[in-house]
Amino acid sequence: MPSLLSAVSQAFSMIVSLDSYLLSVVGVSLRVSGMALVISVPLSALVAALLGLARFPGRNLLRTLVNTGMGVPSVIVGLVVLLLLSRSGPFGGLGLLWTPTAMVISQCVLITPLITGVMLSALVGVDRAISEAAHALGASRLQRVLTVIREARFGFLTAVIAGFGRAISEVGSVLLVGGNIVFPHGVSYTRTLTTAIVVETRKGQFETALALGIVLIVIVLSLNLLASRLQRRGSW
C-alpha cells in the first residue's frame, strides 16, 4: 500500500503535468454534474416554492415523494434509469444508454429531491413576518413570494452546493448507466472521478486512485469554501 504522502505527491504531479487522462476524467465529472445541476436547480426551486408557499391537492403526496427521494440509494436510481434507457425499455429507441446524457439524467433524478428538500426547509425557515412586512409596504402577491424566496437565498445556495456535492461524489448510478467508458487513446468518455477511483483500485493502482480522490475532495472543498465566503459577505 502506498503512503498518503506519496499519493499526494503523485496527485500533485498529475495535476501540474496536466495529465490528459486526469483532465478528461475531471472534465467528464464536472460537465455531467454541472449539467445535472443546471437542469435540477430551476426544477427544484419551482417544486420547493410550490410546496412551501402554495396549498394544492396532492401537496402532501409530493412532499412525501421529495422526502423519500432524498434517501434513495444511487444504485437504485441507476438501475431504474438503466431499465428505462436499455434497448428493450420504453426509451431505448433514443440510444442514450452508455452516454454522458444518460449519466446526466440519472444524476438529475438523484439530486432533484435533495435540492428541493433543502430549498424547502430554507423557505419554511423564513420568518412569516417577512411576508406580512412585504404586504404592508405594498408588495403584490408575486412580489411577496419573490421577497420570501430572496430571503431564503443562502439556504438555496446551500441546496445547490449539497446537490452538486451529491452528484459529483456518487458512483452507483453513473457506473450503471454510463458504463465507465474510456476511449482507446486514454481519454474518458463516461468515466468520472468516482468510477475511475473504483477502476484504479481494482487494478491495484492505489496511488492513482488516491490522487483522483484528492482531486475530488479539493473540488468539493473549494465549492464549500466559496459558498461560505458568499454567505459571510452577507449582502448580495
Binding site: D127, A129, I130, E132, A133, A134, H135, A136, L137, G138, A139, S140, Q143, T147, R150, E151, F154, G234, S235
Partner: protein, 262 residues
C-alpha cells in the same frame, strides 16, 4: 370634515376562533394623528391588519379616500399606506436595500435596473448622478438620523436602530396613511423619543398617522384624537385631552390609572 379613512361596523373573526373585532366605527381625518389604545388582546393589531388589507373583514365597510391612488384597485390603495410593526422586521440585506425595498416594489423593471447600474457604476468611481429613488432613500435615512448607515448590514443594528430603519423604509414610500403598531413598545426611552420626533415631523408634512400604543404619555404627546379599544369594540373616543381629562367610561380610568389622569 372629510375623512381619509372611514370604518363602519367592522367585524373580524379568526377562522375557527372568537370574534376579535366586534363592530368598530372609526373616522380618520387627513393630517391627524389618531391613537388606538387598549389592553393586550383588545384587537389593536387585528384592526391594523384588516385596515392594511392583510385580513379581509368578515363584515362591515372600510373606505379609503386617498388623493393619489391611481385607481380603486387593492394594490393601488395599499401602496398609499405603509406600516411599522412592534418588532422591526428587516430583510437579510443592507440598510440601503431595506429602505429602498418599498420603492423598488413600486418601480417598473427598467427603473430598478437603472438604479442598480448607477450603484454598480459608482462602485467603480463613475461620476453618475443619484437617481430619484436613491435620493429618497437618502432623505428617509437622514430623517431617522442614520445617514451613514447605508452599507451596514441589517443584522448588525441595535434594536432601536433597526426600528428606525423600519420607519425610514415606511417613510421612503411617502405614504398618505401610516400605521404604527406599538412602534416603541420594546425600545429604551431615548430611542422611543427619537422615533416620536420622526413621527411628528412626518405628520407635519401631511402624513396621516394611525398609532397603536400602550404608552399614555406617548399618546398625549403625539395624538390629536384617540379611541379606546376593549374586547374588539371602541368604548370611548374623542380629542386626546378631553378623553384623558374627563373620560366618559370607567374603562379609561381603569386602563390609564387614576393618578395619570389628573
Amino acid at each position: 370634515m372629510s375623512s381619509i379613512l372611514s370604518v363602519r361596523g367592522l367585524r373580524f373573526a379568526y377562522p375557527g376562533g372568537a370574534e376579535a373585532l366586534r363592530g368598530v366605527d372609526l373616522e380618520l381625518h387627513p393630517g391627524e394623528v389618531f391613537a388606538v389604545v387598549g389592553p393586550n388582546g383588545a384587537g389593536k393589531t387585528t384592526l391594523f391588519r384588516v385596515l392594511n388589507m392583510f385580513y379581509r373583514p368578515s363584515a362591515g365597510r372600510v373606505e379609503y379616500r386617498f388623493r393619489t391612488a391611481r385607481d380603486g384597485s387593492q394594490l393601488s390603495l395599499r401602496r398609499r399606506m405603509a406600516m411599522v410593526f412592534q418588532d422591526p422586521v428587516l430583510l437579510n440585506a443592507s440598510v440601503w436595500e431595506n429602505v429602498a425595498y418599498g420603492l423598488f416594489l413600486r418601480e417598473p423593471l427598467p427603473g430598478r435596473l437603472r438604479v442598480r447600474l448607477h450603484r454598480l457604476g459608482r462602485k467603480f468611481h463613475l461620476p453618475l448622478p443619484a437617481t430619484e429613488l436613491e435620493a429618497r432613500v437618502e432623505r428617509a435615512l437622514g430623517e431617522v438620523g442614520l445617514s451613514g448607515f447605508t452599507s451596514k448590514h441589517a443584522r448588525a443594528l441595535s434594536r432601536g436602530e433597526a426600528q428606525r430603519v423600519a420607519l425610514a423604509r415606511a417613510l421612503a414610500v411617502e405614504p398618505e396613511l401610516l400605521f404604527l403598531d406599538e412602534p416603541t413598545a420594546n425600545l429604551d426611552p431615548p430611542s422611543a423619543l427619537l422615533i416620536e420626533e420622526v413621527i411628528r415631523r412626518a405628520n407635519r408634512r401631511g402624513t396621516t398617522v394611525l398609532l397603536a400604543s400602550h404608552n399614555i404619555g406617548q399618546v398625549r404627546r403625539l395624538a390629536d384624537r384617540a379611541a379606546l379599544l376593549v374586547e374588539g369594540r371602541i368604548v370611548d373616543s374623542g380629542p386626546v385631552e378631553e378623553l384623558f381629562q374627563a373620560p366618559a367610561s370607567g374603562f379609561i380610568k381603569e386602563f390609564v390609572g387614576e393618578e395619570l389622569l389628573s
